[in-house]
Symmetry: D2
Subunit: 387 residues, 4 copies
């Protein structure tokens, strides 16, 4: 085995878990990462079954995350897992990450980073006391044309940003009968999901994407979160008006009850010179529309694109890459970051384009502020990092 390869252990992601399988595909896709261990389920037998299906030896299929972290930590450096992929429901993200970091592992966590902003701050503190790397799978930032969008904004092609419209619409929780599905159940249960369903599950992606591409930071917000289906403890829909640190305005719409919508994440940014428009469901296209000039359709693989975009592509123009490839870009970048770290290099998340603790804090703050602001009668609220 090449010493360039990185070893992964996974917590969560037993049979039937959607996101665990996705993480594994993402980890495998570029061939830099080997899955070597797992605590896939709270049911030890199910963990063993999953491990066997994945070609793991039984002794590295652990009955719980604590054993995994303790036992792996005792293995020789060239055998033990390099990093822990956390793909559990939300409430376990923090305890697993914390213990993993304390045991000397790097961590790549599904989002949202923690159950609360307070936990995110604790996570920040833990990280500051250890040398572990921390990555967060804000998948949508992994799309090549999103990197192009960020580049175009950063190089001034849109001019000064005036308005950001980001929307994330889904319909999968629109029916009462949808609530019993495995994915739905824990997301609607605040003990596992946190204080928000819609904003915590998808709104936070939208907010992250808006800040990632625009390079701006939300400073104020006006929130209207809804519990559309009767009896839901957590929001399933909502709109948040935004103000950014350059005075730009924004609108963030998120919904899980938008019947007929699949996974409609769309970002539009309007500058004083030009605007851009990107949709996750047609991710290889990016519209650039200057003022009163013919629009340009930037396409993955066609013409001049920035280095980050080209690096994120695997195929020539017209061979569509999608969600799994975007996800794999996060994994591959994180694997490269770990490899550089092992080689003794400074290996920041920024340098490797991996969402990290900064995004974790912003994301948890977004959720917290949105929920908080939604309960108030006053319109605008400062975006606070210390609720």
């Amino acid at each position: 085995m090449s010493n360039k390869r990185v070893r992964m252990a996974m917590v969560g992601g037993g049979e039937g878990a959607f996101i665990g399988a996705v993480h594994r595909i993402a980890a495998r896709l570029d061939g830099h990462i080997d899955l070597v261990a797992g605590a896939f389920s709270s049911d030890p037998a199910r963990c063993l079954t999953t491990g066997a299906q994945l070609g793991l030896s039984p002794e590295r299929c652990y009955p719980d995350y604590q054993s995994l972290l303790q036992k792996e930590a005792q293995l020789p450096a060239d055998i033990r897992a390099d990093f822990i992929a956390i793909v559990t429901p939300n409430h376990l993200h923090f305890p697993v990450a914390k213990m993993a970091i304390e045991q000397g592992f790097h961590v790549l966590s599904d989002k949202p980073a923690t159950l609360s902003l307070r936990e995110a701050k604790e996570l920040e503190a833990v990280l500051s006391q250890h040398s572990s790397l921390y990555g967060l799978t804000h998948t949508y930032t992994g799309y090549p044309m999103i990197k192009e969008a960020k580049h175009r904004v950063a190089t001034g092609q849109l001019g000064e940003i005036r308005k950001v419209v980001v929307e994330y619409s889904q319909g999968w929780l629109s029916q009462a009968t949808d609530e019993q599905g495995k994915q739905a159940k824990w997301r609607l249960d605040s003990s596992k999901s946190g204080i928000s369903c819609c904003m915590g599950d998808i709104g936070v992606h939208a907010a992250n994407l808006a800040e990632y591409v625009s390079g701006l930071a939300i400073t104020e917000l006006c929130a209207d979160l809804n519990h559309v289906l009767p009896g839901r403890a957590l929001d399933d829909d909502g709109t948040v008006l935004l103000r950014f640190n350059n005075a730009a305005k924004g609108v963030l719409m998120a919904s899980q009850i938008a019947v007929g919508e699949e996974n409609n994440l769309r970002l539009r940014i309007y500058g004083d010179k030009a605007s851009l428009d990107w949709s996750q469901m047609e991710p290889n296209s990016l519209w650039l529309r200057p003022h009163n000039t013919a629009a340009t359709l930037l396409r993955a693989g066609v013409g001049e694109l920035c280095d980050a975009t080209m690096k994120a592509l695997r195929t020539p123009a017209g061979h569509p890459e999608g969600y799994l490839e975007a996800f794999a870009n996060i994994y591959s970048n994180f694997a490269a970051q770990i490899t550089a770290f092992k080689a003794g290099d400074t290996a920041t998340n920024e340098a490797f384009d991996v969402p990290g603790i900064h995004d974790a804090l912003r994301g948890m703050a977004f959720i917290t502020n949105a929920v908080e602001a939604s309960t108030h009668d006053t319109k605008w609220h400062p975006f606070k990092m210390d609720l």
Copy 2:
């Protein structure tokens, strides 16, 4: 000449006025209406030139609307204009309409109906004292597939409506240099335009369309209106959160500074069974998306469509009809309404699908409430009809 034909006089719409020419095309298109007189310009010479270009005899080209209304009123019943088309800047809509009604003419007015809600209420009072018909050119309700959308909602195919998202984005006022254009100048001048530019010019169309199709009424709103370009007295962008009388929520976005946008009016309505999606720039398509079932693309002229839709179409499937045809539908419906009225029939706006005083009041109330709510620190405001 057939006695089915209806005679029109026009106030406003001299050379260089965009909307006047559009109204004339709309009036001509179906061959039911003859332009017989006009007061096209405050400059009498220019009025004569325009009239000559339009084939009018000089004696029916009047130097001002007052003369037009007085002189036409004195002509024999089979010669005088049946109705007055008002295509001036906003501040003249009310005085012209009022005098026309008092002189016994029917009125078809460009929107917004008046300069203020107070004027709209006066207009309502004037109408109640006379037998004139009153129409308002909320053009977008004239599109065939919008009528289909309304029909699908009304017949329960979407189920109970939960959410309405309506957007009207343009970029034509995004540059300071745009402000000197003829169309821009009066719209940014509150003495001619009223208390709002963006909401008054296009937001009101969006609100009207949302209520027309959904059959719901806005009951509360939370508004954030913006003056994005420095020095503008009136709003050029804004978002309004909505609550409807059935508890549905809504988002209305309008902008004139959304660089790169042409005339992007889009309406989405989400019910508990299905959603619909319509865009003005591809007006012959209407998406219907049931929950977890393949989406249907309804197309003008294809398959079963409701009577109102079929009546609003002139060509078979695949022969695109557009904005001018939608506009002509309002004109033709109003001409039919006048003809029925002349024949002694009850001829309500509802029966002839012509936007009328109800829409005028709702529209002016929308503008007034949005501007008012935007100045307040509290989030939600009742949608009042008597500000």
Copy 3:
């Protein structure tokens, strides 16, 4: 009445005729043309009814085209029709046009120009002996973005043309039960329609559009015409491979049995530098795609467009214009040509961008050559003008 206005008489287009109503809307739309007379139907009573609906006086509703032409010719010059619009089934195009020209009228004929290439050559001879203007409603050349496409080719933006792909797919004749409709019946009857249904009705539009935009001429062809539904005397589908006078290759596909297609006319032209792509069903968009460079979407009303395009537009960007406006562009250009002619100017079809006898000859030759070539076992045939 302004002396700039042009007077039209119509032959054909009684109640229930689709294309007659379309011609009348096109004639009315820009307000330059007055319908003053008609021989709308072979049934005199129906002719009177149609005339009355159109506001004509009974004495100018003629029982047949012969009377119309004879009687109108005897009216004073400032009253008689200036031109005859021919909207009958194909077999009458030539006799009506011939007699009209001989009586001193200008002619605007629906396509195809005649029933046969021989008739088209006779028409050419008749025109050469008279001073009448002759226009042919190849509607699709009236679209603004088609004029832009032609301009972009002519100014070298595509480089040398290498390949032309033009497709015209419809599904309306796909069912045996469709054959009894009024529109279907005569088109499938060779005595009224000529030697071809599909190529004569729509293939000829495709060929015309390809030559109009590319500026090239077809020189050879290989044809495969099909009679898909059993029992049809005329083709209802076909493909024609093309060679052009610059050695470019082409593919022309036409079908009336392509189930689910509405009126799908699409033109793609590939040069050595760039390609263009236009679809009639989204007519306000024109794609320009250079080699390995981001594609540009030219939109009606956005940015720099050529004069012919701007002249063909009535509304700002984002207000869709469609089929009727394209048709009206042909009418308005022909009206302008007549007005110039009356003023004593040279008024060629080229100068006024009106399809004329050249297009008539090319069109009839296309139909004739395609049908002829389809019956042969050899692959390639010269495109002959004298079959």
Copy 4:
């Protein structure tokens, strides 16, 4: 390691080879296949480098395919490769496949299967004498919505098929300067590529897709192949008219000089009841258009889809899967076929939905017949399997 896993050795695919990397991603994606050996390059040093990057031990990086096949054949059954992935230029497909089969390996080959139809027939003979499985990567058949399309045809939802239009347009060989690229060079060299460039590289995919989805077989063809750029020995563009065994007609267009096209593979099938339309660049959508009824947009993951489609998907609706996932479906199906074979089951290509020797023969016959027919003056040619 799980005994469910399948071991792969690769021939070809050294650094810089596009398709080798794609095959490896496809093999890795679902986690059923381990790359255990390779002869990646004719340059042994480069082979070692590639192998090292891929985590292979040097002793399983072979200097040429012969050594690979001989040495691997001598390894114990639980260590040696199960199958050989052939990703070389075309001229090596046959010799490598033949020897691999003779040495007892299964083969998964890139297309076209061989350099000539004669070789394909030899391959068929070799296979008939051995028990090896043989798969061919006609990638596009791996798309979920293509499987849905096939299912809809097979279950009669389109009715009797009347017309098939398949197009594969690319622009990457449109410039003389493109010819020096590594990918271009061998494709334009008949000693490595065979008798055709455009038809052999992409036309064959189009023909395969048309037959796969329609369930029909081409029986006659009329071909017009072009050498658009001067000096090219092989075709870079062409159109082939088709007749199928049920009397349906077809048009196949392929081009590598269609400037501005990326990888535009599109399939339309028209039946007597409905049509379908699929584009590779938006692969998760499939249009179904019944006669004069609203069109349905089938989307990956939405509503009822057939088992083969669901099995080919990894993510919920709206999470786009693309080219690599389609490719991985071929690999995963082939791995499952091998596993079943090892378990003693009958394991036909049909049962596992893996393109095989039948497709190899049809494909080589298509290329051969198209090139042959293109040189003749007669229009139609029988599609022969024994040229």
